[in-house]
Amino acid sequence: MTETSPIDLSTLVRLLRLQVRSGADRLDRPVRGGYVGDLLSDVMGNSREGDLWITRQVHPNIVAVASLKDLAAIVLVNGSEPAPETLTKAAAEGIPVLLAEESAFAVAGKVYALIAGAVPTAI
């Protein structure tokens, strides 16, 4: 992964037209990279601090993973609404939960272009 200057969550929310379901007061967080995955141990093992986590899992356990790994935010894809307990936990842990109408592929592509694509030698 190329070293890049981070973009903050509020910029991603605006450019990707994401809906904010939790953590509206924490959108100043920098996003350093991203990880796409629905297997929690995969995300635990391979995501990095400050990553945007793109997933289709909506149950409360995703909040623990994001919190333990110091991820920047969770983006739920395909318009999947989080379970109510997920939002309760996210509010308690201060984890932003964002919602995208688009697929994981589209979201990841756009986020990658915004973060890494800003550097000409990234690809």
Binding site: L40, S41, G45, E49, A64, D70
Partner: protein, 145 residues
């Protein structure tokens, strides 16, 4: 290790089958270590091994205990559970191998990566198990002030 002075120790109970609270103990341990000013890399490694151990107890045991011991140069996480145990530890350590039920997999658990993650993020890792009785894990994470 037995004669090493401890800065702190505590233990936490984990209830098998309770996926709603899964990760709670790991979050608690992380908060404690942050409170002691442990460097964030060691905190994250410990949080990960504690989390995977906790998920294993929730998924495969009736109940279990997670011990935390903080020494001046290392963090020790030890778990003891009463549950199904592991018949073939070598097989269970292989990435992708899992005996998880469909219900567990639907939640994104049971990817067969938990024990591999624990091994990869621990400086020292020990596992012992008795099928039908339970599993014990010991993980050591080194840290420097």
């Amino acid at each position: 290790m037995a004669d090493e002075p401890l800065i702190y120790e505590n233990q936490f109970n984990v209830q098998g089958g309770n996926f709603n609270d899964a990760g709670k103990v790991a979050s608690h341990i992380k908060a404690i270590l942050k409170g002691f000013g442990i460097p964030s890399e060691a905190v994250r490694k410990t949080a990960l091994v504690a989390y995977e151990s906790e998920i294993n107890i929730v998924s495969y045991a009736r109940k279990g205990v997670i011990h935390l011991r903080l020494a001046p140069d290392q963090i020790v996480i030890e778990t003891i559970d009463e549950g199904s145990g592991i018949a073939d530890i070598e097989l269970a350590m292989q990435e992708g191998y899992s005996t998880a039920t469909d219900k567990i997999r639907e939640m994104g658990f049971g990817a067969g990566m938990g024990l591999a993650n624990i091994r990869n993020f621990s400086d020292i890792f020990q596992i012992s198990s008795e099928p039908g009785k339970g599993t014990s894990l010991k993980m050591i994470i080194k840290w420097q002030p």
